[in-house]
């Protein structure tokens, strides 16, 4: 049977690569994103194993309705990948509270709401695997990203706590911490900045979304069945 995985932020970047990888591996995906046009474009490219769900993960009621809809239309959910994330960078002295709030709401509260919505079904099925997409900035910090880094560190607390709650229930919860990855988010940076980034990585290059997708697939799949509560850095050695 095709395992079903819910991926948030599935329309672009790392979320798209994760969806693509899972589908190539014979899984099916419920792809959630707030960006409707991009999501529909992704859906056209990824075919029938991908079903698009337009969703704002900060909307508690919408998360409940969508989770019920996914289970009804696509069946029991085996996996959840909390990938959706936004940035509103700025030095903390100049960071407005609304920029703090929205980043927390999307990156951390959104992940909480999704975990809560889907864990009921996983408990019922007595199996499941959740992967939260954190970041190296959770471990290193980053100037101008106090809000973003806080959420990515918060996801590690969420990951470890849930992993303990569900460890005896055959539901695993892990995190992946990507380093500098070439995506829409980093592609627009000036060439010089990107070179500086790459230079700080021991492997001297930025990563590709595929590398993250491979790590996520590994943690979702039964091959990692004795692994729970970990943070897997995929960063070319940046946090070593």
């Amino acid at each position: 049977m095709q395992k079903l995985v819910v991926v948030t932020g599935a329309a672009r970047g790392i979320g798209y690569s994760i969806s693509e990888k899972l589908i190539k591996s014979g899984w099916s995906v419920a792809g959630c994103d707030v960006l409707k046009d991009d999501l529909m474009a992704a859906s056209d490219k990824l075919g029938d194993s991908f079903k698009p769900w337009v969703l704002d993960i900060t909307d508690e009621k919408a998360v409940q309705e969508t989770s019920a809809g996914i289970e009804k239309e696509q069946g029991p959910v085996f996996g959840l990948v909390n990938n959706a994330g936004i940035t509103r960078d700025g030095l903390i002295m100049r960071m407005e509270k609304k920029d703090w709030d929205i980043v927390l709401n999307v990156n951390l509260t959104g992940a909480f709401l999704m975990c809560r919505a889907f864990s009921r079904g996983m408990l019922r099925q007595k199996e499941g695997s959740i992967v939260n997409i954190s970041s190296v900035v959770a471990l290193l910090g980053a100037p101008g990203q106090a809000n973003y880094a806080s959420t990515k560190a918060g996801l590690l607390g969420l990951t470890r706590s849930l992993s303990r709650e569900y460890a005896a229930r055959n539901i695993r919860v892990n995190a992946v911490a990507p380093g500098f990855i070439e995506t829409e988010m980093t592609r627009d940076l000036p060439e010089k900045v990107r070179e500086d980034y790459a230079d700080r990585v021991p492997m001297k290059r930025m990563g590709q979304p595929d590398s993250i997708a491979d790590a996520v697939h590994f943690l979702l799949d039964d091959v990692s069945s004795y692994i729970t509560g970990i943070v897997l850095p995929v960063d070319g050695g940046l946090t070593t």
Binding site: L123, R124, E165, Y166, A168, R169
Partner: protein, 79 residues
């Protein structure tokens, strides 16, 4: 099968306890060894078996076998 028997059966199945342990007064946590997730799963088991939704506020009050049965008797159940 009576409501009491069905409730007992669910508790025995979910918690792996002996039938004689499931008395009306038995507390799920102290007498039947259920941790908080066990208790959540029990509530889910009752919901599935009787076709109803038990909200969080009510669920936290259902701490003994007797309280579950009394609560279910007030509801319109799938039998």
């Amino acid at each position: 099968m009576s409501l009491e028997s069905r409730v007992s059966e669910i508790i025995i199945d979910k918690l792996g306890v002996k039938p004689e342990q499931v008395t009306m007064e038995a507390q799920f946590d102290t007498d039947l060894g259920a941790d908080s997730i066990d208790q959540y799963e029990l509530i889910m088991g009752f919901e599935d078996a009787f076709g109803l939704r038990i909200d969080e506020d009510e669920a936290t009050k259902l701490t003994t076998v007797g309280k579950v049965i009394d609560y279910l008797k007030t509801k319109d159940l799938d039998q």
